[in-house]
Symmetry: D2
Subunit: 153 residues, 4 copies
């Protein structure tokens, strides 16, 4: 069964919330397990979308307990690893969908690229090299349906 | 929802297999999520028991991918952390049920005790102090039903 | 005593090698401990520079053993954590000097920013937001001396 | 260069303090790097012994910063990993010397055995199987000199 991580900031605007909720729903409808960081913002919206569609959502938490975890998680995994848990979320995923930008989110994008996991982005931050050219790797798409289609191959 | 880890060796005899399968089934029947190391032996038997009873089973794998993972996992999480993943299994659990003995299993028992997670043992290794007295902490029980009852408080 | 991480790609050109070697030397001359990923390229050059100047260099390796570690490390710490070790390098540092660009390097930059550790960059990749504006955080400098001066405050 | 971990409880009696200090000193005199958990008790005594003898001591801390770290560490590495850092200490060591007993200490002993790193014990807890027989693996010695001799093979 496919496992797809949805990564994005804990604080986000209504557009990102909508996109994350839709991505979560579409992944669940396709039978994929949704992995996320388990807290608010994009993470919570993706969890909500997946849960409402009857999907399985795993929140890989940075904290030592479930404090602050989204109520829509099927399983909340407090790792106690702090930011190192970002490496776990993307390691366990077949593909990573990034929605919006933050330093934590960027670390997940970079760790996924480093480890060879495909990354699909919906908006958010971009990376350019010293000459100002976009660094190849993440695939930018325009809407949730395209993101999910690419993620599930 | 309760999350209970079932820990034990990757190679075990029929008695431990039976006990693990029953523990997995009883946990699932009570609605608890089963966490385990995700590979063979006690881990696979607990996963099988829980899955057959319609439960959710998360395998927190030490490897970088799903190679060798039990087919009965709802979610397989390759952490790429090696033995450090043992700390995660017990950190994410409300209680730990230990079935049988091995060094990896003992590390989980010890990490759970260190972190304040209750440990219930079904057979397996025991720990004695320098004077030969049992070290307090883990609660030994005689059968799977007692283990699950204690774990779910 | 200050601890400064030097992060950069395992494969790099002569300019980055020179910069890393100089940064390592200057840090050691100022009495700072140098932390790095412990392998080749920028990591090895920083280690070499620091070691020649009599400094202490710790290589936090992703692998399970010391295979491939730079010979200039005072201490080689195989973590067996894979890419998750990137979080450790920056967590243990008072400041992070980034030389050059790669996905692994970017993950260290992002994890440092996420965790509140100051980041100083010498060339390398840059991050822009959805509107093409540079994301604030990392401080770009022109040469190794400026990087070390800023890192040691 | 050899790297030897010294593991033991954060709170210990004078006998264990003396043993740990001597072990630290002997390791440093033989040129070995001392790894430890970086806090009080056995860890601090080992660090003190090694530092006084001019050795290099690395404290692999469970916390996110250097709070509570022994003043005798050459390098303090806050990992932010909580108890999972126990796996790192033993993974990075060529041999592990255990002095005294606690659940955290036992987890290090068990993780070392699991990972194939030799373990030498000076007092402390012991492990017996279901039939009450000692589980093979750790080598018990009578004094610090024997522990260091074995650890450095």
């Amino acid at each position: 069964m496919a496992q797809v991580a949805v990564c994005g900031p804990a604080e986000c605007g209504p557009e990102e919330t909508d996109a994350a909720r839709t991505v979560g729903r579409l992944l669940a409808e396709r039978g994929a397990v949704v992995l996320c960081g388990g807290y608010g913002g994009v993470m919570a919206a993706a969890a909500e979308g997946a849960r409402r569609a009857g999907g399985v959502v795993v929140g890989v938490l940075s904290g030592r307990d479930r404090a602050g975890a989204s109520p829509d998680l099927t399983v909340a995994l407090p790792t106690g690893l702090g930011e190192a848990r970002n490496a776990l979320i993307v390691r366990a995923a077949d593909a990573v969908i990034v929605i919006g930008g933050s330093w934590g989110t960027l670390s997940e994008l970079a760790l996924a690229q480093r480890g060879g996991t495909p990354v699909i982005t919906l908006g958010g931050w971009r990376v350019i090299d010293a000459d100002g050219r976009p660094v190849r790797g993440p695939i930018a798409v325009a809407d949730p349906a395209a993101a999910v289609r690419l993620a599930l191959g």
